[in-house]
């Protein structure tokens, strides 16, 4: 009988290790898309949301770059979390993020030169994107790598869909194009405000308003 209970216990212990995509883990992915969105709810990463969203193509690249940096940084920091001395943890985070950003910058320069020329200034600024540091500090330092990866994916998708939505409207109304292809008739005169960051600011404000009123989110 004793062996039976032992086996049972072993089974139970095994069962308690979470499935790779348990309900809790799925919320890591889905929460940042809507009710805990880094841009519209936490209002982080606004600078790049205003700066890069003139057209869809550079925005897409920026979204991919941020995803790569955020996910990798989250995983690296999470893997190192038990070794990082508390007193220099921000410096360690910065080194990891800055190295990853430098690598992304170099890879873009080699394989997507046109986009690199347009974006290299902003790519450098990913280092200071509050979303990245925020996730490292708030999540990666206290969770396992797999969870940190999901959290990174969730947050960068939350960031990506917002900036893509803004870029869609800015490119459409600002120059009548989508992905550089003319979609509106030639008679349409581009709206200059939408080409400037001011237009992005207005759009972002409207978007934040819509999402917050839909979620019933109220600032504390």
């Amino acid at each position: 009988m004793s062996t039976e209970t032992l086996e049972k216990e072993v089974n139970e212990v095994k069962k308690t290790s979470e499935p790779l995509l348990s309900k809790k883990r799925r919320t890591l992915l889905t929460n940042p898309l809507d009710e805990d969105n880094p841009i519209t709810i936490q209002v982080l990463g606004i600078c790049s949301a205003l700066a890069v969203t003139v057209a869809l193509k550079p925005t897409m690249v920026m979204a991919i770059a941020v995803t790569a940096v955020l996910v990798l940084a989250n995983v690296v920091i999470s893997a190192l979390r038990n070794t990082i001395p508390n007193r220099i943890r921000i410096i360690v985070q910065l080194v990891v993020v800055a190295s990853l950003v430098a690598i992304v910058d170099q890879v873009l320069k080699a394989y997507s030169y046109d986009v690199w020329k347009e974006l290299s200034v902003f790519i450098g600024l990913i280092i200071t994107n509050c979303i990245v540091m925020g996730r490292l500090e708030a999540f990666a330092l206290g969770n396992k790598p797999w969870d940190a990866m999901l959290d990174g994916l969730g947050n960068s998708f939350g960031y990506a869909w917002i900036i893509l939505a803004i870029a869609f409207f800015r490119e459409l109304t600002g120059s009548g194009k989508l992905f550089g292809i003319k979609v509106l008739p030639d008679e349409y005169i581009g709206n200059g405000v939408m080409m400037s960051p001011a237009g992005a600011c207005i759009l972002l404000g409207v978007l934040i308003w819509i999402i917050r009123s839909r979620n019933g989110y109220v600032e504390d």
Binding site: T83, P85, K109
Partner: protein, 245 residues
């Protein structure tokens, strides 16, 4: 990790040193591995610009990278001259237009690209001159292609580092660059006179060989382009005069 006291100075310093070494070497390796590919991209862009200026946007746009490189190696011959018009025995590939720009005018090495019609390299279709200057915020540069008569502009390509998007950055638009096509670098008396952006936009200057419809809202960038063209084409003047048939 319980063996170490994570708050001791020794641990922190060792950690910082190892971290710096690891990330430093990773970055160095990445930069080294990607360098050749990046240099190729820069070279390809130059070839693209030169051919675009000489043959027009439409011809080049549909070409793949390999086709551009093949066309360039087959039909383009690069020379280097001084502002006196004399040829210099310098490899064109070693000339960096930006570095030359910072030197005094009379010792600058000036590349000239001769675009031939066929790969037998018999008839020159056009001469392409690189130009460099200052816009509103930062440097601007480009290539000017002059037809074999050495009078008519067959095309220009401009690029910039940090002009205002939607305003000064429009100098990279094909439509803006096409405004230079057909303009003359000599006036009715045969003296050198370089095309320039007029003030204001939307005017028709098709009857004037030097005036070019300007950029509304980007006057300083436009003036930068005009003075860049003037100063460089004057540098090339002796070469142009001596090669004119």
């Amino acid at each position: 990790m319980s063996k170490f006291n994570k708050n001791s100075n020794n641990y922190i310093i060792t950690y910082a040193v190892i971290m710096t070494l690891v990330f430093g070497s990773v970055l160095a390796v990445v930069a080294m591995v990607l360098k050749p590919k990046q240099d190729m991209e820069v070279l390809l862009e130059k070839q693209n610009f030169i051919l675009k200026a000489a043959l027009g946007e439409e011809t080049i746009k549909s070409m793949s990278d390999e086709e551009v490189t093949r066309l360039y190696t087959e039909t383009v011959v690069a020379d280097v001259v001084k502002s006196s018009g004399d040829l210099v025995e310098t490899e064109e590939a070693s000339v960096n237009v930006f570095k030359e720009y910072k030197k005094p005018k009379d010792i600058r090495n000036l590349p000239v690209y001769k675009i031939y019609e066929t790969k037998e390299k018999k008839d020159v279709v056009s001469y392409v001159f690189p130009v460099y200057g200052k816009g509103l915020w930062d440097f601007i540069w480009g290539y000017v292609a002059i037809k074999s008569d050495l009078e008519t502009v067959s095309g220009v390509v401009f690029d910039h580092k940090g002009e205002t998007p939607g305003l000064g950055a429009r100098i990279t638009d094909a439509e803006v660059q096409s405004r230079f096509i057909g303009k003359k670098i000599v006036n009715a008396d045969g003296a050198m006179s370089v095309p320039y952006f007029e003030k204001g936009e939307g005017n028709d200057y098709s009857n004037n060989p030097q005036q070019v419809d300007g950029l509304s809202g980007a006057t300083i960038t436009a003036n930068g382009v005009s003075s860049m063209l003037e100063s460089y084409l004057l540098l090339y003047k002796p070469f142009i005069l001596s090669n004119k048939k």
